[in-house]
């Protein structure tokens, strides 16, 4: 009765024009006004961000296909339980496979990337891809021929079982064992204790039929270290666990509920000799262990995974968060700026600009950085494939540090966007909680960020030592060997808009922090500390140095990107402003690093602040067009606050109607409340 009453009243209110449906094509006038004053062509900037008009066309074509197919709808995503999200992800992944086949999109074509973007990421079988990649990298040709075709067709689903309950980062510590038995020509795999249980692998909990399992190889009682083995874990007939296998789901997480992260215990699982992945090491029938070729190429798997995650799972999430929060901030009006005016758009408050506009600049900085990293990776990959491993340490250090700094910043950024939208940002329907909880995971998976910063730091310390002893060092760290000026040369606040000035400041900071950490390290060792002990005592400072290095690399790449836009005057101008804002915000937020040794003086820092605040006002005017240029579809954003038309209140209301909490009367009423209410005084 309640529901019926509501409906008829709603109909009445709608007739009276009380609601403007969010399906209407008109755009909120406040949002429209922002678009009319853009200082540049949004379409042109979009094509630059896409890497060319062809890509933009392809992307939009893919989006049109995906969004017109109800099988890919994300309408109920925010209302789903862990079970429902998993089921939807499997359904969509299988459907996508069919769609791709139907459209003639293959895995190597760019369409797949755009599908992922359009779908916002809630797909299954990501680790199945890692399963395949590991076979392609570590398997012999025979192994590849046997396993890849059925995996490609989803006739089997694989997982990559590396991490254990007790071990993540430190791979050598993994405890699963694989013992070779010459008499049977089999490996026997075991989980010797609870901390050795595989824990976290995606697609393992409820989907996978097979797994690449990492285990310590034992032959005749001798341990040969970690190796990868393929084994079946569930029946292909009825999906029941293979005898000796205990497998299940690890339960709820902060997000990633669409993924069935699982656990796996093995009790005397026997597999044939040919199930050890044997491109680089082999066990012969008589138990002889043979190592062949270099397995350095393994690092590439780790590197490419980090590179890919940045542009699929991380950077786009910050772009989305910025789009949502910036559009909201020009529709939302709150409080008065001028007491005689109507309430002000919240983006007109300096504090709101401080929250969102540096993030917008950061989104651009990371997008451009990503383009560079891809290029750098492809170059390194070609060399390595040709057997030249020279670029591997630099590639590894660069991608480690960038993965860490970019995931850190994107996570913090998503929280800022959420909070900048106030209570409505905290509603799941804003899409922002989803972005934050997804991003914070990226700080942990594929290498925990502190560990990664320290890997970069280790490389930097080595390079610094090499530079000091006159050896050549890679291009990205060459600046470490140059002795820069001791004082910043800026005299006015506009000097701080010169890329040379701020780039030099970032270089100086990174060089100083690294130099100090390295000096401390050396002093500790010289005073008798063990190397490991000295290293541990310097790690806080080494992380600072690695961050400063990565920050410099990103600023430098932004500057280079601006220079390359010299034939696009209008675009170059606004992108230069973003570059300035990114660089000056970084100084403004880390003043101590620049003031410490007096490179920038207190007076100069005041100029930085003044220039930074001026830039906020400049970027404010183009904030909406700059967010629009990311060109996310409403379906892909899936946010009640971030839609292109700006009808935030209508959408919040309409979406809330679909919540299960409005679809059923809670048992709480009949069970607990009704008996109480019956005792209320009759006259109230």
């Amino acid at each position: 009765m309640a529901a019926k009453g509501k409906q008829s009243q709603m109909a009445q209110w709608n007739r009276s024009g009380y609601f403007r449906s969010s399906g209407s094509r008109d755009v909120n006038p406040d949002l429209q006004a922002e678009r009319q004053t853009a200082s540049f062509s949004v379409e042109r900037l979009t094509t630059i961000l896409d890497g060319g008009a062809d890509n933009t066309r392809t992307r939009r074509a893919v989006e049109a296909v995906i969004h017109s197919d109800p099988g890919f709808s994300r309408e109920n995503q925010y209302f789903q339980s862990q079970n429902e999200r998993y089921e939807a992800a499997v359904r969509k992944s299988v459907h996508l496979k069919e769609k791709m086949h139907q459209m003639g999109w293959t895995e190597n074509r760019p369409e797949i990337k755009y599908c992922y973007r359009a779908l916002g990421g809630d797909l299954a079988f990501n680790v199945h891809r890692v399963f395949k990649n590991s076979i392609l990298a570590l398997g012999t040709d025979e192994q590849i021929a046997k396993w890849i075709p059925p995996a490609d067709k989803y006739h089997i689903i694989g997982t990559y079982a590396q991490t254990e309950l007790g071990h993540g980062t430190f791979l050598r510590g993994l405890e699963t064992t694989a013992v070779f038995d010459i008499s049977t020509q089999e490996f026997t795999l075991n989980t010797p204790k609870i901390s050795a249980m595989k824990w976290w692998p995606g697609d393992l909990g409820r989907s996978a039929t097979h797994a690449v399992v990492f285990a310590q190889l034992y032959i005749k009682g001798k341990c040969y270290g970690l190796h990868a083995f393929i084994l079946q874990i569930r029946s292909l007939c009825d999906h029941s666990p293979v005898p000796g296998v205990i497998v299940g789901d690890i339960g709820p997480k902060m997000n990633f509920e669409h993924i069935d992260n699982g656990y796996l215990m093995l009790q005397n699982i026997n597999i044939p000799r040919e199930n050890m992945l044997s491109r680089f090491s082999q066990v012969l029938p008589d138990g002889t262990y043979v190592k062949q070729g270099s397995d350095k190429i393994n690092y590439l798997t780790m590197i490419v995974t980090r590179v890919q995650m940045l542009w699929t799972e991380v950077i786009p999430m910050l772009l989305r968060a910025c789009t949502i929060a910036i559009r909201y901030s020009v529709v939302r009006r709150q409080s008065k700026l001028n007491p005689s005016d109507p309430e002000a758009k919240i983006l007109d408050y300096q504090t709101q600009q401080q929250k969102l506009l540096p993030l917008l600049a950061t989104a651009y900085a990371f997008h451009f950085m990503n383009a560079f990293v891809n290029e750098f990776y492809n170059k390194g990959y070609t060399e390595i494939k040709q057997g030249n491993f020279d670029s591997l340490p630099e590639l590894h250090a660069l991608t480690s540090g960038l993965k860490a700094i970019i995931t850190d910043y994107c996570t913090a950024g998503a929280e800022v966007c959420l909070r900048a939208c106030g209570g409505h940002g905290y509603s799941a329907l804003s899409g922002l909680p989803f972005l934050y909880t997804k991003l914070v995971a990226s700080c942990i998976y594929e290498g925990e960020n502190t560990v990664l910063f320290l890997q970069t730091a280790r490389f930097l310390v080595k390079c610094l030592a090499a530079a000091h002893s006159g050896q050549p060092i890679p291009a990205s760290v060459a600046y470490l060997s140059s002795v820069g000026s001791g004082k910043c040369k800026a005299w006015t606040k506009t000097d701080f808009l010169k890329p040379d000035i701020y780039a030099e400041a970032y270089r100086h900071r990174a060089t100083r922090l690294l130099g100090n950490a390295a000096t401390k390290l050396q002093a500790l060792v010289q005073s008798g500390a063990e190397q490991y002990e000295a290293w541990n005592k310097c790690t806080i400072q080494l992380v600072q140095a690695a961050k400063a290095h990565c920050h410099y690399i990103i600023v430098k790449n932004f500057i280079d990107t601006v220079e390359k836009l010299k034939n696009e005057a209008e675009i170059q101008k606004i992108v230069k402003h973003l570059c300035d804002l990114f660089a000056l915000h970084g100084i403004f937020s880390n003043t101590g690093d620049f003031l410490h040794a007096g490179y920038i003086s207190g007076d100069q820092m005041d100029m930085v602040t003044a220039s930074y605040l001026d830039l906020l006002a400049v970027i404010r005017n183009d904030a909406v067009p700059l967010a629009d240029a990311f060109d996310f579809t409403d379906e892909s954003l899936n946010s009640a606050l971030g839609c292109y038309d700006g009808h935030i209140y209508q959408r919040l209301y309409e979406w809330a109607q679909k919540s299960p909490t409005n679809q059923q009367v809670s048992r709480a009423y009949a069970r607990y409340l009704k008996p109480l209410f019956q005792s209320a005084p009759s006259k109230l």
Copy 2:
């Protein structure tokens, strides 16, 4: 079949001693070892934190009652849907009411506070309490006599409907209307447009029968501003909405799923004249509007809500997060520090200490600050009740700023704890995602933090002007008028362990930042800017100044607390270390603020760093006892990682078994996967 196979295998593995049940009473030896070397009596520190041995006894007695009652179990909390969490919260709240009656605990006794702590916060009817408080504050004696008794007994459930879809912070902008009709002696309430819909009030979505609604009062066409009205929104017989009322739930949020935050639209709802809360203003039958007494006391409601939320919803959450992460960090071993040793406890890594130990110090700082604020509030409250409103501005400014800085730090701290536990921290079963998502809301509700910092800043600017013109200013800001030394007087790193030295540094920083912001503000106004425009252009710097002021207040209070422990040598020593760590970490993390004007030199900052790093190693040794002293029960922590016995892996495994994802076979298998697997090659 799968489930059965799993069970029998588990039984077999258990027999072989493979699992040690997490129910056993033995403690993980790594955790046990940490406790044996405590430098102080944990029990003694616990009683100090509780405010005396009597309180500790009462608290533990309450915890025993609550935890022995299965009606309060939180066992399945992390697996529940929004519907289920709401139902559980209502059930527990009604049950708690009965329990309190049975135990003779009244709402004013301390037991209720300990119930809340034991239950970890997932209770309903929090806004029902605000409903009651608003009637008590704004209602006449007759209104109180009529509404409070049934509300006390839950015979009616009320909500406090203030916030609207389009308005949160800016109350004057609320759009709901209440028009007085002399002919009927009634008010007619309306929601004139969509942005005026009440949105977010707790207990509104599915529970409330009544509401205190804030609306613009109109009499004979004239607006008299915001007033509060009591109205019934749902039937007491069948809970259906009263005709003209549209009410529902706003849907999923990042957390707070146990609360039915709701929306409310009113269409020509008529209520009698006596339903306007009339202690401070009244509408007479002839339409005459009468204002009586001062309604300044209204501020007290806002202030007490902020004070209460800090000790119920905010600070304890940081204490919990620290307890979980620190216990985990001495059980978790990962990687090697010394290559010839076993894997190291992760708390032995300097970077892990850097993440968790300053947070532990912060938890203590906030706990002690809270004790001070309560005292300060009670004193102010007594004065105000006696008609002396002098302390109101200071009380308001102090509680605003502290609410903002404490919720900011606690939220950031919960994220740090989550990430410091790696992947296992990201599991919902760690309890850390729950703490973070709860805390981040506290930055938004009861005043958005940026807005609150600016309220504190406004007070500080006024005080500074008063001080400059020789007028008296309140005690907490008296330091602003004293001209401090221009240089820090520390000569060695141990000088930075002197409270006078660091307190003076914090004072200097706050004074400088406020002075600069005020000077800029004045200059802008003098150069012709409108006051509001000048203010907006200084807000970023004003927020910095307000933060620096609050930071100083907390450091100062920590120093005072240490001094008061002079009869507890052992405790005083460790608490002094925490105070030093809190203060030096604050300088280390904000170096620029102290270096800018040269108050601390670069060389001195190196001493700060050295002292800070030394302190990490000192606190490391007592980290577990310091966390133990918070004395949370396992049931209250509800974390697979944080239990007292340290059996983290067993608990993760056992809890995961209860997940709904392990209780049912997903339809995804039969629908989408089975058909694919049937095509797999028969020989694999």
